[in-house]
């Protein structure tokens, strides 16, 4: 028989910690999207050296585990006196900033590949038609390319966004008090083996489920023309 009061107590402490998890997640996905947009633009710029930089970025940040990237930023950079004396130090000395920065850099590489695929999937005829109507530059992007690419990117984007929620559990290894690390602390303090981890797992699962639902809702909202017509 499990002690419900004990579970409730764990649940309340983990919900408080959920704020840290969600902050790292939201900030890194948000800034990651901007970096990704830049990388995607560089990748398609047509200038060879710029393209190579973008390719190298994607190769490095997708090929190495996030844990390594996180440790390079948090433990690696701070080991240089030059860094500690620089203007970046007030930013980099904080574990929260380091965690968010590495998560953003990592997800940017994955998001950039999603953006690239979505842009490549815009039918050529649509772009030609728009040009024939006299659209070009930003207007063409805003009215034709972006709306189509957005709809094509959404399914893969939701997968990436959800995998970032799971990835934030790694920030527990750089001293942040997120859901994962608070669950481990409760486990160590109370010597109860599974309950804290189970409650944490349930919280992550529900958060991921809700995010997935939101994306399904957005997809349906954006593509009413694809929905099966009700008889």
């Amino acid at each position: 028989m499990m002690d419900t009061a004990f579970i409730w107590d764990i649940f309340l402490r983990l919900i408080v910690a959920l704020r840290v998890t969600l902050s790292v997640w939201a900030l890194s996905v948000f800034f990651g999207a901007f970096i990704a947009a830049g990388v995607t633009w560089m990748r398609g710029s047509g200038v060879k050296p710029v393209e190579w930089i973008a390719r190298a970025y994607i190769f490095v940040f997708r090929g190495a585990p996030l844990l390594v990237q996180l440790f390079v930023v948090y433990y690696g950079l701070s080991s240089f006196p030059v860094v500690r004396a620089s203007v970046f130090w007030p930013f980099l000395r904080d574990a929260f900033n380091c965690a968010t920065l590495s998560c953003a850099l990592c997800t940017a590489a994955y998001q950039s590949e999603i953006f690239r695929g979505a842009l490549a999937g815009v039918p050529h005829g649509q772009v030609e038609a728009a040009r024939a109507c006299g659209m070009s530059g930003f207007l063409l992007f805003r009215r034709v390319i972006f709306p189509i690419a957005l709809r094509q990117a959404l399914p893969a984007y939701s997968t990436e966004v959800i995998s970032m929620v799971k990835a934030t559990a790694l920030v527990s290894l750089v001293t942040l008090w997120d859901v994962m690390s608070v669950a481990l602390k409760i486990r160590n303090d109370t010597l109860v083996t599974y309950t804290p981890l189970l409650v944490a797992g349930a919280i992550y699962f529900v958060v991921n489920y809700l995010i997935a639902r939101i994306f399904i809702f957005i997809e349906q909202w954006l593509s009413p023309h694809l929905r099966a017509r009700s008889a």
Partner: protein, 241 residues
Amino acid sequence: MQPVTWTTALGFGERGWGPALLEGAVLTLLVSIAGLAIGAALGSLVAWSKLSGVRIAAAIGESYAAIFRGLPELLVVYFVYFGSSAALTGLDHLFGGQGFLGVPGFAAGALAVGVISGSYQAEVFRGAFLAIAKGELEAARAVGMGRWLSFRRIIAPQVLRFALPGLGNLWQVALKDSSLISVTGLSELMRTSQIAAGSTHQPFTFYVAGGALYLALTSVSDRVFEFAEARATRGMRREAR
């Protein structure tokens, strides 16, 4: 002790961590291969359960896949690590043993990578099975092949071929997930980098070196999968464009 330059620290000399890092990389490779294999077993079981049409089996398979895809990989690693030792100890007590039995770090790590990978491999295998032309299965039955024979001759070779691209992606994921096993103390690449970083006080050097070795592993194995794919599809007709 004199401070060591980073070239010496990474080297193969008396005070160099080169051999240890390479050993770590080999262990990472082995634990990921074992994990992928466990995942293949679990994944094909789940795919089979979903295709079987037996409601209960499908529900069990589906919930396993949904749960492990929805949990953070790190949480799964902790859970498998703590859980497998507790289960083994419990089993031992059942047979009259006493005291605590720990599951070897390698086995627990491979199992953790495996249950995560399996939840994704299920979809890869299911998709690959559904990609087999229905006529081929009917033709196999028409010439009198039984279930096992048609599985061996018709289904398995094609499922493997169609599943290769998906498995290649999941192999990369397994390699990267295996870095999380470092929290259990198994001295794979990540853990070795941590130990080296701590003992030489050169974290940047060793985490970058560890990262570079991961990159080497992922890019080399990417080539291997490309080769395997080219070989597996060598007899297939190219689609007209």
